[in-house]
């Protein structure tokens, strides 16, 4: 058991492993598993949302529960995420980006719930790519809205120096806080990526480890341990029940992480365009 890698089922590979001990697996051509899953997610989003958008664009009210649900997602992003964070005037420009980020991350997260597939968002580089796109948009919008000079000036804090001690310390504090603000802009981008990747990775790794208990106690029972013989069925039953409940939590976390990513991107865009200082 020391040679079991708990990340093996959650990371990328070039085959879909169905049953390890029977040796059933598909080798995937050209692209790795996660790349195929991302293409699948993109295909699913296009197949679902282009007809919905066409119907809404024609002015018809959405009919049926499915179209209503899709439209609910889109209006949710527009009214709860984009409009409050970016402001009434500018939010329309960012809606395609926010919708794409939200839907793509959501579908990729949800692919991890299906058996034998995986969630590509567990790969740090994929979340990093999404965060890089968001990062570039945030700072480019800040520069466009405020000018380069004005945007860099928004990182400099304003310290009111009333008495002599503060007057002496103010330049030092200003420089330090300026550096901290620049650092925090970089750190926000990195944390955006790592939060998404770590949440998906940790969730599925915990599920894997809980199911691993069944194998461990099975091997121990096979090796002749009496306690393991007694405990096998309780442990197996409890493990499966807990894994099912945790999978429901995984569903919730998948939707929540997509929401948090989009919400933070919208908030940072709003802050970059209208610095509050």
């Amino acid at each position: 058991m020391a040679n079991i890698n708990p990340f093996e089922h959650v990371s990328d590979s070039d085959h879909i492993m169905l049953f390890e001990t029977l040796g059933v697996s598909f080798d995937l051509p050209f692209l790795t598993k996660f790349m195929w899953l991302e293409l699948l997610a993109a295909g699913v989003i296009l197949a679902i949302f282009i007809p919905v958008a066409r119907r809404v664009g024609n002015g018809d009210a959405p009919k049926g529960r499915f179209t209503n649900a899709c439209e609910f997602l889109l209006t949710f992003v527009r009214d709860q995420i984009a409009r409050p964070s970016i402001g009434e005037h500018d939010y329309v420009r960012f809606l395609p980006l926010l919708w794409t980020l939200f839907l793509f991350i959501l579908v990729n997260n949800l692919l991890g719930v299906l058996p034998f597939l995986g969630s590509p968002t567990a790969e740090l580089y994929f979340s990093g790519a999404m965060a890089l796109i968001a990062f570039v948009v945030i700072h480019a919008q800040g520069i466009i809205a405020n000018g380069t000079r004005g945007y860099i000036k928004s990182f400099i804090p304003h310290i009111e120096a009333n008495d002599t001690l503060t007057k002496i310390l103010a330049p030092i504090i200003t420089v330090v806080i300026f550096l901290i603000e620049i650092l925090s802009a970089l750190i926000r981008g990195v944390v955006l990526a790592v939060r998404l990747a770590a949440n998906m990775l940790a969730g599925h790794t915990v599920l894997f480890v809980l199911l691993l208990f069944i194998r461990l106690i099975g091997v121990a029972a096979n090796d002749g341990s009496d306690a393991a013989h007694l405990l096998f069925w309780p442990v197996a039953g409890a493990s499966i029940v807990v894994v099912t409940l945790l999978s429901v939590l995984e569903l919730f976390v998948a939707c929540l992480q997509a929401f948090v990513f989009t919400f933070l991107t919208a908030t940072f865009i709003g802050l970059a365009m209208h610095p509050e200082h």
Binding site: M1, A2, N5, P6, Q80, V191, V194, R195, A198, N199, L201, A202, T205, L216, V219, D223, L256, Q257, F259, V260, F263
Partner: protein, 115 residues
């Protein structure tokens, strides 16, 4: 004070027990050259650092989520008509706090596996 002492003694016993029980039986060379190595889980008692790190991050997470929940329940109790706004903000803040803790947990796990 007494319960603290008791807790420390229990922790010590658990650690020593983990160390003792992780002794791996050596490979027994049978007469025909058959090496029998039963697979035993090797918990290195030296994986102490990542374990402590994980425990501490869960302590921080518990405090953080507890505070968020406390404020949320207090707000809803005082103004039930704002319940929807408060609920949305609570979920968001809980996700942010939990994100930080999960980052720490995953990094501790990686440190434990690589170390």
């Amino acid at each position: 004070m007494k319960s603290l002492l008791r807790g420390l003694i229990v922790a010590l016993v658990v650690l020593v027990g983990a160390g003792v029980s992780s002794a791996q039986p050596k490979a027994v060379e049978g007469g025909v050259g058959v090496a029998v190595t039963p697979e035993v889980t090797t918990f290195k008692p030296a994986n102490f650092g990542p374990g402590v790190g994980m425990g501490l991050s869960i302590v921080g997470l518990g405090l953080g989520l507890g505070l968020v929940g406390f404020a949320a329940l207090g707000g809803i109790a005082r103004q039930p008509e704002q319940a929807d706004t408060i609920r949305g903000l609570t979920i968001l803040l809980a996700a942010l706090v939990e994100g930080a803790a999960i980052i720490s947990l995953v990094l501790c796990l990686v440190a434990g596996l690589l170390g």
